[in-house]
Amino acid sequence: MKMKDRRIRDGVQRGQPFDILVDGEKIPAYEGETIGAVLLAAGRRTLRYTNKGERPRGLYCGIGLCQECRMVINGIPNTQACRTLATPGCTVEIQQSNRKRGG
């Protein structure tokens, strides 16, 4: 099945295509895209689960303020997906609650 892609083709030409690994799964990305945009384009909304209620959260403010898009990127937790550019082969994990991460 072909995956849905929400990328807008109009007005721009994208850079080099490559894959990133999201919880072990290959997701297509292009140079210049943030991790948050890559996941959204692939139809993935949940980026982390909260500590207390273990509730799903996704992109919200999109400009680096709300801290809702914190993910484990290249092994570093609490990295903002909306401010981090995707790079070839980078690994991304949905950030689980502190309890589930053994924190």
Binding site: R6, R7, I8, D10, G11, V12, Q13, R14, G15, Q16, Y30, E31, G32, E33, T34, G36, A37, L40, A41, R45, T46, L47, T50, N51, K52, G53, R55, P56, R57, G58, L59, Y60, C61, G62, I63, G64, L65, C66, Q67, E68, R70, N78, C82, L85
Partner: protein, 470 residues
Amino acid sequence: MAESDFVVVGGGPGGIAAAIEAARAGVNVTLLDENERPGGQIYRQLEKGFRVTDSAALGNDYEKGLQLLRQFSSLDDRIRYWNNTQVWGIFKDRTLALARNGTSSSLGFKKLLLATGAYDRPVPFPGWTLPGVFTAGGAQRLVKTDRVLPGERILLAGTGPLQFVLAQQILKAGGGIAAILEAGDLSKNWLQGVKGIWGNWGYLKEGWGYLRQIRKAGVPLLRRHIILEARGQDRVREAVIAAVDENWRSRPGTERVVTVDAVCLGYGLVPSVELTLLAGCEHEYDLGLGGYVPVRNEDMETTVKDIYAVGDGAGVAGSRVALYEGRIAGLSVARSLGCISDSDARKHSKPFRRSLSRSTRFRKVLDQISMPRPGLSELAKHDTVICRCEEVTFGEIQEALAQDTAHIKDLKRMARVGMGSCQGRMCGPAIIEIMRHRANAAPGGPGSLLPRPPIKPTALRILAGLDPDE
């Protein structure tokens, strides 16, 4: 320690305009920008990797921004531009603490201009934390520079012209909009405001053009409507909407359910005042300007000498006002540093002051439609999360408020609101409005959640890079 005569914080229109005017007058400027490239949110440029093939597809602001940015880069012999630089502290001895290149350093200044911008007003209601619920500004960034649609059946809810800009951008990009909800009473107030709009035909024409495109696309524009609830397990799938009265309180019996896969919330903006608060500038509450804003004189100087503030971060009024204020402040800085004469400064800033007062009149007309009404602070239910970081619910906040808490700093201690990683940027504005409408509200308002350095999450290894002997 490094030093600069004039340090500008923020690479949006206000900061850039100030840097341009000061540099033209002969001032050496350092502009600190937390982003990769100058432009701020409104003139945000595409990341490396993207190639623009049709700039018209990216909207009017994109092209306007390019002109300003060209002027800015042509002055690079006088303006030092530091990108990816986070100002995380400001200290009494005219020193900023910066995170840059993976380490910390300090930078001294003679004059400082804060042009820190604004962000979407957070409005808590049941389901607002669900994935798929975005701020209008966040959605705009996704569409404009990431070139990704936030969904396929998008609901826009909020008030004011920015919603229409976003709607037009989504439509242009081929996205589907379920409906646009405007909480205010657009038509009536527009007519009332004709006098204030006089001389602002540029704005009006633009807004009118957007409305026409929205109508042409067959998107329902529901005036005096609001979103009450976002529903779904793992993501938003439905929205409950309703008609509202003039106080934005829902009219019983008008609720209905709309199928959506994304919601964009645009209830106006709130200024980013963390640095003016940290600098000890006096603030006053002006809901029309978005909340607590620094008190300034006509040269845009705050109550702390040599610290200026311009643009949305000093009171939300849009990019044109930011440009005029930036130019006025830049000229004033050049004058007080002795680079231009009093009379030249006065002469050069005169047209900007005139444009500024015209724009201010126009803004006040828009306020009549878009200023948050009390009903907006009454949407949260007992178990609605208000503080996203610490997951503090409205019920828990009410409990703390019942103990006669009149100041937000007391509430912070009692309920942990604003103690998470966003430092109260998301819950603060909503809580201030909730507290302001209580019977026992403090006469001067509840005050702000005072930020502490580092004002944004900063890794310890970066903080540790600051040399205390510098």
